[in-house]
Symmetry: C2
Subunit: 347 residues, 2 copies
């Protein structure tokens, strides 16, 4: 089906566009009353993720509410470890917990990978099918996965962490096992993302949420090679653009740019000029400080305009991180509308 609004895709491919597209990380979620109403009827977060019709419904809510330029499938990066054999629980106000974690070679050898893992996630593919039907070509649908290092971090640590010191202990003390695990995660993730593309994902984003926990040397050894493999596999098999968002990995921007990705996401610490000097002509995505949406409407308009001018093209507008639950629907609308009313001056 032809997209009625393909601004995101044209921008990701590097075409010259009239204005930057805009969407928000965590745009489907606790900021929206209609999301909270639906969520209150369910047993928990995972029921929502695993029920295709409901996942589709919340995926489309921000399109109806703010008319952003893209939908992103409502799901979680932790479906991959679960498909490989490590189930997780989502504990309210605490985050994900893995009752079992990876400790040994035997633990890793017992995990599923490749199509065996990807085939466990039929509910995600069904959610994509359902969403495409509801969207009816209005905007592109973004599919996503966690980057292999971030997935390893959860599988070894067993939960979120300020330091991820268990996961890093594993990299420093068992580098060979770490690579064995990263290889299996990479193969499962690649199969999963290619399936998502077959089920209608128009762009793929990889989230390397814990990139900034690693030293540059470790990021180069344990993260970047696997990003190369996934982006190359997608570029070989499809023409679907790929975005890498490696939070706090400012030190690795040049290495990210050397992969087959199309777009590089930026957190709010990284200034556009600095990023541009390191990524060549890759498209950039980001990067307003999410907390800027706590300011008044006038300041949001000013800061958003200033950001767009600073990027000056080859740019997808987003925040530098996801929306926080206590942000206001109307402040988000001001942000989105500021972008939608912007026009690049012709050079």
């Amino acid at each position: 089906m032809k997209l009625q609004n393909d601004l995101l895709i044209r921008t990701a491919r590097g075409e010259r566009v009239e204005r930057p597209p805009v969407w928000l990380m965590r745009q489907a979620g606790r900021v929206l009353p209609q999301y909270r109403a639906l969520r209150a009827k369910l047993s928990g977060f995972k029921e929502l993720v695993e029920t295709p019709q409901l996942a589709a419904e919340v995926t489309v809510q921000p399109i109806d509410e703010w008319e952003v330029d893209a939908a992103i499938i409502f799901s979680d990066i932790l479906v991959i470890p679960e498909a490989m054999g490590l189930t997780y629980e989502m504990v309210e106000k605490r985050g994900p917990i893995f009752p079992q974690t990876i400790r040994s070679r035997a633990d890793i050898e017992g995990l599923l990978t490749d199509d065996d893992a990807a085939a466990q996630l039929q509910y995600v593919y069904d959610a994509l099918d359902a969403t495409k039907k509801v969207l009816d070509g209005r905007v592109p649908l973004i599919g996503f996965a966690g980057a292999p290092w971030t997935i390893l971090a959860y599988m070894v640590e067993g939960s979120g962490s300020k330091t991820f010191s268990r996961a890093k202990h594993f990299l420093y003390s068992e580098p060979e096992l770490a690579h064995l695990l990263l290889d299996k995660i990479t193969r499962a993730t690649t199969g999963y993302l290619l399936n998502k593309i077959r089920h209608g994902a128009d762009l793929i984003q990889l989230f390397d949420s814990w990139a900034g926990i690693l030293s540059p040397a470790q990021y180069g050894e344990f993260a970047v090679p696997y990003l190369h493999r996934i982006t190359a596999a997608i570029a070989t098999a499809t023409n679907t653009p790929v975005t890498l968002f490696a939070k706090n990995a400012w030190f690795a921007l040049d290495q990210l740019a050397a992969t087959d990705c199309n777009v590089i996401g930026l957190d709010w610490n990284t200034e556009p000029d600095f990023a541009r000097s390191r990524v060549g002509d890759k498209v950039l995505q980001g990067n307003l400080d999410p907390c800027q949406l706590y300011a008044d409407h006038e300041q949001i308009v000013r800061a958003t305009g200033k950001m767009i001018e600073a990027f000056n093209g080859r740019h997808i507008v987003n925040l530098g991180h996801g929306l926080y639950p206590d942000m206001e629907v109307e402040k988000v609308r001001t942000f989105v509308n500021t972008v939608k009313n912007f026009r690049y001056t012709q050079k």
Copy 2:
């Protein structure tokens, strides 16, 4: 009293030295069995901080154990908000909690500042006196405080946080009140640090632990001007060197270098070459990934040597963050001894 080992001070002043000095953030603490034994007899962390003889005892433990080149007074950055009128509790495994937080102009106007605040901290000055006596000139004693933005973050947020979104909300929605509070924190902190110097602190380190939570624009507005004021006040009144350690503030290194500090601390994400290109001839401190100490002894020796070579002078060796509680005493010893055995080649 003349210092027997003044390597840290000579290095901080920019003198040419035979090898870099070495100490570790959180060197007094849970890594040491002798610390845990003493701590187990007490009611809690605050009893240790507030009892000068005990604080002196644990301050000196790492000097006896590893013969590092400096002691750092055992204390907490949150003694300043407490001296200003906001008490905190230290909750095991959870961190600090403030029962009352700053919400309004009246809250700020009720706080003590200047010498009235600094005078509340006699137990810290007594701890310095006691430590100097025990140290007997073996190594310099480092005094420290939180940087004003980091202290504001705790006073508004009320606890640690992944996002510090309440504190940032305050900056975005009440910038004038934020500056009023930062001014009072700065004045209290300046008085406190000058008192510490009078009681024998040979070098001062400011910890801006939550620097990386702010955007570059906000860091420039709400953090840097107050670092200028504190470093200028110390430079005017004393010849005691000052170190700024602004964690994850790689984007502001040039602004930190423009203050009257002598040394800039680096986290483990920031490569020596990158830092050097931004700080001119300031001395640098850091920055081995703390988790490198989970590797085997041989790898620790290699990584430490590589780091010293990369900095190549004007360098104080430390980790890029504090020691974690599960690190081994013998691994720390390997790190320290690698530095102590190093000699710069004469050029």
